[in-house]
Symmetry: C2
Subunit: 143 residues, 2 copies
């Protein structure tokens, strides 16, 4: 049963909105592209108000989230031919539940360290973020 | 259908074995406690040979893994009354797929940074790791 109509309104945390470009919505999560040219970096944000931890989602939503993580991971891997994917829900700074899916290369600016706080974000040059977002939409299958 | 008998043999990566103490096995994953007194830190390792990425698991196994992440997360949160959980599959150093579930406090040695590489590991004092492992077994329901 879809109780969407009875759920409290969700809105994207302002810091996530500032740092990213919108890719689109899957059934559960909003998909965002980080404006950091150091790493091809996608963020999934379940559109459920007040959610901080994975375990704040019910079992069905957790299953949906895992399926969407896999969908985005496959798309990002196909797009970038990366050496490794890093998938993480941390949220020490921005409490709204969000899952990072980052394509890593052994030659990237932070390898082998995790990306968080490793190097300053490097905004994409004009047009490049739009190109990445368009490629992500095609690869994920978001119209 | 359980194809366990036809699967290649799995064994724990030696570096994970060195850094942790065995908690026990859930249906899919081996559960380990990191020997780092800085953070209550659990690792889940799906017992599937050759698995590097989440998307190397089939859809059923990914669902099982999410359920086991939730089970361990709930246990760790109940046990520690932590301020935040950090959940991550990184694997830039140890390629065997493993998922970190870390209980964070706003007063811990790395907050708000992620734990990986933030501060040197601090081995537990004699007996303390055993106490943590025993408490984890009870909280997770591993006999």
């Amino acid at each position: 049963m879809d109780n969407a109509a009875s759920r409290p309104a969700w809105s994207l945390h302002p810091q996530l909105a500032r740092d990213t470009e919108l890719v689109g919505d899957l059934a559960l999560a909003r998909v965002l592209a980080m404006n950091d040219a150091n790493f091809p970096w996608v963020i999934l944000v379940p559109r459920r108000a007040g959610t901080v931890e994975l375990i704040d989602l019910d079992e069905v939503a957790r299953g949906e989230l895992m399926a969407e993580i896999a969908q985005v991971s496959t798309a990002l891997k196909n797009l970038t031919r990366c050496d490794k994917l890093n998938v993480a829900a941390i949220g020490n700074v921005v409490p709204q539940l969000h899952v990072h899916v980052v394509a890593r290369r052994t030659s990237d600016a932070a390898w082998p360290k995790p990306v968080w706080g490793a190097v300053p974000a490097k905004p994409y040059a004009a047009g490049e973020l739009d190109t990445f977002v368009a490629a992500l939409r095609r690869a994920i299958g978001i119209i």
